[in-house]
């Protein structure tokens, strides 16, 4: 689960959503190769922060590569729908015990077969504490995870995973979770060949996968580029339509943007702030601005003394109404985002823009001031207290919008509000983890998998991993649980949206806007499509 606030290398990396390469189901992608399919396409990326192992890749730099050189049981199409990739079928009767059948005759790029064991071994490897895999907690739903993940554990296989035969394995979860199959397209759940386990560190430098591409010989030139060539063993829906993909490593998006302008880079995801005003004219007919499953908000931690109880709730609502989201989007982001009307994302199934209680997201300076005064009557705001919004400022545009937001809060509430800039992500995380924030903090979420729950549970569930504000409300937790156990997707979504009504009352975080991806491409390639997660579909890019 990723936080876009984690942006490390000049803004990208860290927790920004790992690209679940939207693998359009081939037929519905509608992208037939019309151009030159032999040329190599270049795209921007950041240096992967870890070796390329599925369970150790938790940031975009590595994620973009992993999604092209690996393929999982399922993948997500352009709209975010789950489609089977390696899975023949995923069956369950109680949402707790799953039987997974995989397609037969599939192989890794080195020719070794993909079997049920490839998955079971990979997942066990990922979960075992001794392997120090960063994504290990992704397996926590599987029965037996507690044992293998304990410090000094000697057991390294989870009892919930069993190989039945070459093409079948079963998964037993610790409890019923109906959205488990949705997660299986995520990087952590990719299979690994036998050869990976002998020396995982070496494998991570030179991985052997099963995706549409494979790493070229000596293709990972650290800090410079990563060269991928088509994998002829792959016969899924994401067949490569070009002669290969080379990722060029950039530490600055500005540099990448100028490179596309000069046609020395083909595809850029994320136009930097300096280009937002000009990218549609700089790249006439070669740009895209489309929403994806991500949002931005501002967490107000529950442990702040000024934001407790009834007065605290009023203050949260007052702050939410004290700034004009649309104006900030227009002036700072040149209209490239959409005002938030709830806590998830409009590209998701079940999105409802008219959830009762969402009027607190509307700009209303008079109402805000009135609420603030009421709160002051209950417990006065300390005279010289500054309302701060903490953010690491290496992410593009963070500094600008928070400054604008703080200015408006200052003017409309008559208090002092200010950006509290933090240089490094490690400092920001330490403050958040140690609950040392003295004010609000910038937050954002990009979906791991397309589901309303993914925007609610991990962020606001009691004790959830990314619940930075320490929010806890039993009524909200109950709604989420009911939603997960619902029999149909629609029924579940209805319950999740009811859970959001509770959030609008408590306002553990202030939703700001929905993200959109601004992508541009060079004169050397034909139109580039971007997926539900904002990532370009690189396998489908053809040269002119």
């Amino acid at each position: 689960m990723r936080f876009s606030r984690t942006s490390k290398a000049l803004g990208l990396a860290a927790v920004v959503a790992m690209s679940l390469s939207a693998c359009g189901g081939g037929t519905d992608s509608g992208n037939t190769a019309t151009g030159d399919t032999t040329k190599v396409i270049t795209a921007n990326n950041t240096e992967p922060e870890n070796g390329l192992l599925p369970a150790n890749t938790n940031e975009v730099g590595g994620g973009k590569v992993m999604d092209l050189i690996f393929t999982g049981l399922v993948s997500y199409d352009v709209t975010g729908r789950t489609v089977n990739e390696l899975a023949e079928s995923i069956e369950t009767e109680d949402s707790q015990n799953y039987t997974i059948k995989i397609k037969s005759g599939q192989t890794f790029s080195d020719g070794s077969p993909i079997t049920g064991k490839s998955f079971v071994d990979a997942w066990n490897f990922g979960a075992a504490a001794k392997n120090k895999q960063l994504n290990s907690y992704f397996f926590e739903s599987i029965k037996g995870y507690d044992t293998v993940s304990a410090e000094g554990a000697t057991v390294d296989t989870m009892e919930g995973l069993k190989v039945v035969d070459d093409t079948t394995f079963t998964v037993e979860l610790a409890q019923a979770e109906s959205d488990f199959p949705l997660r299986l397209g995520y990087t952590a759940f990719y299979p690994l060949p036998e050869s990976a386990f002998a020396d995982p560190a070496a494998f991570g430098q030179n991985p052997v996968g099963n995706g549409p591409y494979k790493l070229a010989e000596g293709g990972w030139k650290h800090d410079v580029s990563i060269e991928l060539v088509p994998n002829d063993k792959y016969n899924g829906p994401r067949k490569a339509q070009n002669g290969g993909v080379t990722f060029t490593i950039f530490t600055s998006l500005d540099a990448a943007y100028t490179s596309v302008q000069a046609d020395t880079l083909d595809v850029l995801k994320d136009v930097p702030p300096s280009g937002l005003q000009n990218f549609t004219t700089d790249f006439e007919g070669r740009n895209v601005n489309q929403p994806y499953a991500g949002n931005a908000n501002m967490t107000i931690p529950s442990y702040l003394p000024e934001f407790q109880g009834e007065a605290g709730t009023m203050r949260r609502q007052a702050i939410s109404m004290a700034f004009d989201r649309q104006q900030i989007i227009d002036k700072i982001f040149y209209g490239t985002k959409t005002v938030a009307t709830e806590f998830t994302s409009p590209v998701l199934d079940g999105f409802n823009k008219a959830i009762p209680g969402n009027e607190v997201l509307k700009f209303d300076a008079a109402k805000a001031k009135e609420l603030w005064a009421k709160a002051d009557a209950i417990s006065p705001w300390p005279a010289d207290k500054v309302f701060t919004v903490t953010s690491n400022i290496d992410g593009p545009g963070n500094k600008e919008y928070i400054t604008a937001m703080a200015n408006q809060i200052s003017t409309n509430l008559g208090i002092k509000a200010e950006l509290n800039p933090v240089t490094s992500f490690k400092e920001m995380r330490a403050m958040v983890n140690k609950k040392e924030l003295t004010g609000a903090s910038r937050a954002g979420w990009q979906a791991d998998y397309p589901s309303l729950y993914n925007f609610l549970g991990p962020l606001f569930g009691t004790g959830a991993g990314s619940n930075d504000g320490n929010y806890s409300n039993p009524a909200f937790d109950a709604k989420l649980k009911a939603g997960l156990a619902a029999t149909s997707v629609d029924e579940g979504n209805k319950l999740f949206n009811e859970a959001q009504e509770i959030l609008f009352k408590d306002m553990p975080a202030v939703p700001l806007w929905y993200q959109a991806v601004q992508g541009v491409w060079s004169n050397n390639v034909n139109t580039v499509q971007f997926g539900w997660d904002g990532q370009p579909l690189l396998y489908a890019v053809t040269a002119k």
Binding site: P272, P273, S274, Q277, N278, D324, Q327, I328, K331, I332, N392, I393, D394, K399, E400, T403, A404, N407, Q408, T411, E418, L419, P421, V422, T423, S424, E427
Partner: protein, 337 residues
């Protein structure tokens, strides 16, 4: 001393030769031999025991105050200082009342330079930003001059083990590049929690002094064997007094040059620190903060970046001119004959 009158230009000495007796040549030969009794040599040669000796500095000052370069630069600097002390005399608009309604708007009545992305008045911010920027520039320069100058002078003059220790200490500090050193210092809890102009000054001084130290050491090394130093020691000056009285004043030229440019680069370094989120707090206005904030809009709205940069240029220019004038005044050789 060049103030001495020489016979050639002393009107009193230009006397017509007295007519001679006897055989005379018809050819007129001009002899510049002044009759002794009519030459006011006594007045020239007489040493006024009462008058204070003309020191190098007093001499420089007499020279300096007549130089237009000095007068212009001094007036400019006074102007900048006045702006820094009482910005409200120069701008009536509140630089912190910003509204997005005015975002990136052009100039209009009462707002001669237009608005920033956040809708703040550019002119008011340039005026109010002077104080912090000037403080960073001046105090950092003074700091590195004092620390670097002393270290460099001692190292270059005495040499030996003192040189070794001081020079190697400089190497250690120098190895951490200025900006990176400042990042680390700025992140230390003592500074982070109450950031001010002084935090930036301390960080820049701590990692900026070796440069001046190297330059001073080089200049002192060049001069310590000069004839005038040997002469002054022969006249009984202690080595330390010779350093202070003769070596340092004669080594000032490169130090002044570097210091006057550094003043500008320190102000800009603050911009880079702000760019990286390590500079002055957001509430303190500075040219650096504004230049850093204007960077993304440089293609569409260059004015926002231009004006603080112009203010910075004028300040640096006046200090460079002052440095030039001072250098010329201190160097007897460079004086017009």
């Amino acid at each position: 001393m060049s103030e001495n009158l020489t016979p050639e230009n002393d009107p009193a000495a230009r006397v017509t030769p007295a007519s001679r007796q006897g055989k005379t040549s018809t050819r007129f030969i001009e002899h510049f031999v002044a009759p002794l009794e009519e030459t006011p040599l006594a007045a020239v040669d007489k040493v006024d025991e009462e008058a204070a000796p003309l020191s190098l500095w007093a001499d420089a000052w007499r020279n300096l105050r007549k130089q237009p370069l000095f007068i212009i630069s001094a007036l400019l600097i006074i102007l900048v200082v006045v702006v820094a002390v009482v910005p409200q005399w120069f701008a009536s608009v509140d630089p912190t009342s910003c509204t997005l309604d005015d975002s990136a708007e052009g100039a209009r009545a009462g707002h001669p330079l237009g608005f920033t992305l956040q809708g703040c008045d550019v002119y008011a911010r340039v005026i109010y930003g002077t104080r912090a920027s000037l403080m960073v520039g001046i105090f950092t320069t003074l700091g590195v001059l004092v620390i670097g100058g002393i270290m460099g002078a001692l190292a270059g003059y005495y040499g030996g083990w003192l040189d070794t220790i001081l020079a190697r200490l400089g190497d250690i500090f120098f190895a951490l590049p200025l900006i990176l050193g400042a990042i680390v210092i700025n992140q230390l809890p003592a500074f982070r929690d109450n950031r001010s102009v002084w935090t930036v000054v301390v960080a820049l001084v701590a990692f900026g002094w070796p440069q001046i130290a190297r330059i001073t050491r080089g200049a002192v090394l060049e001069n310590r064997n000069a004839d005038f130093v040997t002469a002054s020691k022969a006249l009984g000056l202690t080595p330390f007094r010779a350093l202070v009285k003769h070596v340092i004043p004669n080594s000032l030229a490169p130090i002044i040059v570097v210091a006057s440019i550094s003043l500008g680069t320190f102000i800009v370094a603050e911009a880079t620190l702000s760019f990286l989120g390590l500079g002055l707090p957001q509430s303190v206005m500075s040219w650096g903060n504004d230049i850093a904030a204007a960077q993304p809009q440089v293609r569409n709205n260059p004015g926002v970046l231009l004006w603080p940069a112009v203010a910075l240029s004028i300040t640096v220019l006046s200090f460079i001119m002052l440095g030039d004038a001072l250098r010329d005044a201190l160097d007897p050789k460079a004086r017009k004959r």
